[in-house]
Amino acid sequence: MEQLLRILEELHPEVDFKTSKSLIDDKILDSFDIITLIAEINEEFDVRIPVDEIVPENFNSAESLYRLIQKLQDED
């Protein structure tokens, strides 16, 4: 989780990712961020996010994104 938070904070140092639950709905993350995130997660966690998991629900909070990463790591 720390690793993910670091990636997120590098993108948006002004956001508190531990508490924010509506990163997409509140338009905090935009398409640039999503693309960057997918690439960074791929690199740092060595998981490929399948395209059908690239949906708003998975990107709305650091927690949901982390759950997704864990799920993908377990599947490997």
Partner: protein
């Protein structure tokens, strides 16, 4: 008798009786027929003219929506020229644009009408929903139409400028008609065309959907911006609206192919894919081609200063992973000259600056003769009579097949996420921050990252926050690094090459 078209409004005037009830412009939830577009635009034209706005810039400050396009047309009906402004643009940048324009009229919608009050602007503000209630006055509109000539401007769009001050490119009826005619031929636009618009309406890229739709009685959907974050939903939208023609920036296309969307869902109706703004990574292109083997793929190239696009290449052969897709040849009635460092035509295979000749040349930069004269210059190959060319600052060459190939930028201008960015503009903006001493930006081509180095007494997060405040989203640096000293070259300029070298070495080490 067929007379030559001199006014872009003739596209609309000619088509409205052919298919009045067909959908012209739409988004995910609202549709506007040709008749509605026609009557709303004429209402706006009548209103503006009666308010005394004639042959003036009219700012269109609205959310991306079919109504925004209708407003553009309305502004032209009044004999004015439209200046689209991005609703998400930082206030600082908008103020710079307003200072250049001194506009006397701004058209807003419900979402922007409050924001305009925060600007330093005290002239007229009109609300779209109000002014479309005006009853169109045929006599007034006919008068304006009869007085117009084809070299009158129809829009000003602002692009990035190296000094930090955006440049307003002014284009006229003639150049736009010239472009739309040949562009439509190359794409094969017809009444059956259903466009899916991706590019913002405040750049000239949107000409591709706006005017061919009117010329042919086609249909153009504005795709919601959010869908470009979630590629599955994007392709589903294309299928739902039966979109068959797209003209997108390359990153929008590579996002779909790169994330593996095609393994789950494919565009069912898409048969024409035009792309531009950046080099299409071959690996991604091959995925697209394999997925849609019967589709027509067209590479486009061109600067805003020459009205939309200037060159095209329709993919007509197989490419392998090491190939580069050429930019091909100029559109009809446009000429490309490659000039080498001696201002002579570049020989076969020799790189040269891409220079453009023709009706497609815009009128230049708004209220900026100095910067206009730097790049709209006398053709150095002609010393017999006045003839302008536009120097793009892009370097190209002809390949062994005689096709034009793009090589690089001459200066520090970069292409990122479909936007043209002067790194100097980012530096200028951040350089204004209190406590900052020196700023230098470099661009990591592979990772598509903007890296900003600075010296001075500021925290990194302060710098990032400041950049976010002052710059459009796509210009905000991805990485910000504080340096103790800024490396300089022997003649006192910031040593960009050294910074880039350092960055690349560090990147290699961390990999």
């Amino acid at each position: 008798m067929m007379t030559r078209q001199n006014n872009i409004l003739e596209y609309l005037e000619n088509i409205v009786d052919v298919c009045p009830d067909k959908v012209c412009y739409a988004n995910e939830s609202e549709e506007f027929t040709f008749r509605q577009v026609y009557s709303c635009a004429r209402a706006i034209g009548t209103f503006l003219y009666r308010q005394g706005h004639y042959k003036k810039p009219v700012v269109v400050f609205m959310k991306k929506h079919p109504k925004m396009i209708i407003t553009f047309l309305g502004v032209v009906y009044a004999g004015d020229y439209y200046v689209p402004i991005d609703e998400e643009m930082p206030v600082h940048r908008i103020e710079l644009i307003f200072r250049n324009l001194s506009p006397e009229a701004v058209i807003c919608d419900e979402t922007t009408k409050d924001k305009i009050r925060s600007f330093n602007y005290d002239k007229d503000v009109y609300l779209y929903d109000e002014i479309i209630k005006t009853t169109p006055d045929d006599a007034v509109l006919q008068y304006v139409f009869d007085k117009a000539i084809d070299t009158d401007p129809i829009y000003v769009v602002f692009t990035s400028g190296s000094t930090g001050v955006p440049k307003g490119v002014v284009a006229c009826h003639r150049s736009v008609i010239d472009y739309i005619e040949s562009f439509s031929d190359v794409l094969g636009v017809s009444p059956d065309t259903v466009f899916g618009n991706q590019t913002p309406l405040y750049v000239d890229a949107s000409l591709k959907e706006i005017y061919p739709t009117l010329k042919f009685g086609a249909t153009a959907y504005i795709i919601p911006k959010e869908l470009f974050m979630f590629p599955m939903k994007l392709v589903e939208f294309l299928n739902e609206k039966k979109i068959n023609t797209i003209c997108w920036v390359v990153p929008a296309l590579t996002m779909i192919s790169g994330l593996g969307v095609f393994e789950k869902v494919k565009p069912e109706y898409l048969h024409t894919i035009a792309f531009g703004s950046e080099v299409f990574p071959m690996k991604q292109f091959l995925i697209w081609r394999k997925t849609l083997p019967d589709a027509k793929f067209i590479n486009l190239y061109g600067p805003t200063e020459a009205t939309g696009m200037s060159c095209y290449y329709t993919v007509d052969r197989e490419f392998s992973e090491d190939d580069v897709i050429p930019i091909g040849r100029p559109f009809r009635n446009t000429d490309i000259i490659l000039l080498n460092e001696e201002n002579k035509p570049a020989g076969p295979g020799e790189p040269g600056e891409i220079c453009i000749r023709g009706t497609s040349l815009t009128l230049g930069y708004y209220r900026d003769f100095e910067r206009t004269n730097e790049v709209f210059v006398q053709n150095p190959l002609n010393d017999l009579y006045p003839e302008l060319i536009y120097r793009t600052g892009d370097i190209g060459k002809y390949n062994e097949r005689g096709e034009l190939v793009f090589l690089s930028r001459k200066d520090h201008q970069i292409k990122h996420m479909g936007h043209r960015i002067e790194l100097g503009e980012i530096e200028a903006a951040v350089g204004r921050m209190n406590g900052i001493i020196n700023v230098c930006c470099i661009f990591d081509e592979d990772k598509k990252k903007i890296i900003l180095y600075y010296t001075g007494d500021c925290q990194k997060t302060e710098v990032i926050n400041y950049a976010r405040e002052k710059l459009p989203r796509y210009m905000v640096p991805h990485v910000v690094e504080k340096l103790d000293v800024m490396p300089l070259t022997t003649n006192g300029k910031i040593n960009r090459l050294l910074l880039k070298e350092k960055y690349m070495n560090r990147k290699k080490e961390s990999e």
